[in-house]
Symmetry: C2
Subunit: 218 residues, 2 copies
């Protein structure tokens, strides 16, 4: 497991994992790279190259053992461990994430929500307490927390992320609409919804222009 | 504006746009590629190359006019038009998106939410009505809708996306955890939160292994 796999391949793994889950749900035990290729709409050679990174799970004439491949990719993605999560910001997005049960199936357990809004503090979502942000440092002393999710306004996010790192957090899932400046050993994954929406509108405008430019023959 | 810009450059534009907005908020009228480079943590030469795609907005010894660049990138991203949006699925994520006011500042207006849950239908969020999904086709006849957001469970998403396309929708912002199979002329932008969380856990595990492997000298 020690060898280096390119980030491009890694970025594709969650998608493989999702398709393999679907195959398991359909009671499909093995699949050829060609069949998987048709389902996933990528070339069979790309699939073989990608999956060869993990020591050639496929066998000539048999294909891939779906359960085995699913488990191995799960391990590579760290899904065989439990990840404890706190959410900083119990507003709309924080609450939506806390209500989303599917994360738990993959071992991502939200164990605390934090906010400064007195109207929220003391209540809970699916049994997860909403606590005041001042209680965060005690909470982190008492619980192992692997990931902090930032869903608060942009202007508070930089400061809170510094506090989190000081308190020992080494992974941040950042929904705040800014780039965090954190030490090298802190892992950050950004979800910038506005950026995603802008890409959509770019592609809408581009497609419209293409269609306007296209001659109307044929 | 007709020339082709690479997708890699386009993917970086929302980030430029965000930094330029910050500069405007700080009343900064012009900026050199070097200063922008420091702020954005990318090389000045990358910035010059990227922004040269738009006809060299920068001037030697002056730098970039922030407002002009902001407006031009906004136009390229289609942010000078209003985009009407419907959200299919008025659950947690759908409601969180509807409550998020910042999209409106960029011209993305949510004008309707749709669901099948009788407990939700008839209510509204920030004045946006939650309607029954059966009312969708009438709604689309009466309103210009540019984007449909899918925030419903995976098992319904494929079918609904086909219906949307039949009803004339040409852009989908997909939060459902599957790949949609749609005609070429439909623009899709995916937000797969589970995939993003898996990348985070992959990087957590990787970093832990690196730190375990690292000799403890120095």
């Amino acid at each position: 497991m020690g060898k280096e796999i390119s980030q491009a391949v890694i970025r594709r793994l969650p998608r493989y994992y999702r398709y393999l889950r679907d195959l398991l749900d359909e009671d499909i035990e093995r699949i050829s790279s060609n069949e998987l290729s048709t389902r996933m709409n990528v070339t069979a050679s790309q699939i073989r190259q990608d999956l060869n990174n993990f020591g050639g799970f496929g066998q000539q004439g048999y294909g891939y053992n779906v359960q085995y491949l699913y488990d191995e990719i799960g391990k590579i993605l760290g899904l065989d461990c439990r990840h404890n999560i706190v959410v900083i910001g119990a507003g709309n997005m924080g609450q939506a994430l806390a209500k989303y049960v599917n994360f738990e199936k993959r071992g991502f357990m939200i164990i605390g929500l934090f906010d400064v809004n007195p109207a929220l503090i003391g209540s809970s979502i699916r049994g997860i307490p909403i606590l005041h942000i001042d209680a965060l440092s005690d909470f982190l002393r008492e619980h192992r927390v692997d990931i902090a999710v930032l869903t608060m306004p942009k202007d508070k996010a930089e400061q809170i992320s510094d506090v989190l790192v000081t308190l020992g957090i080494r992974a941040i899932w950042n929904f705040a609409h800014l780039d965090l400046h954190l030490p090298e050993d802190v892992v950050v994954e950004n979800v910038h919804l506005s950026d995603s929406l802008m890409m959509l509108s770019y592609n809408i405008v581009k497609k419209r222009m293409e269609q306007t430019a296209r001659p109307t023959d044929s």
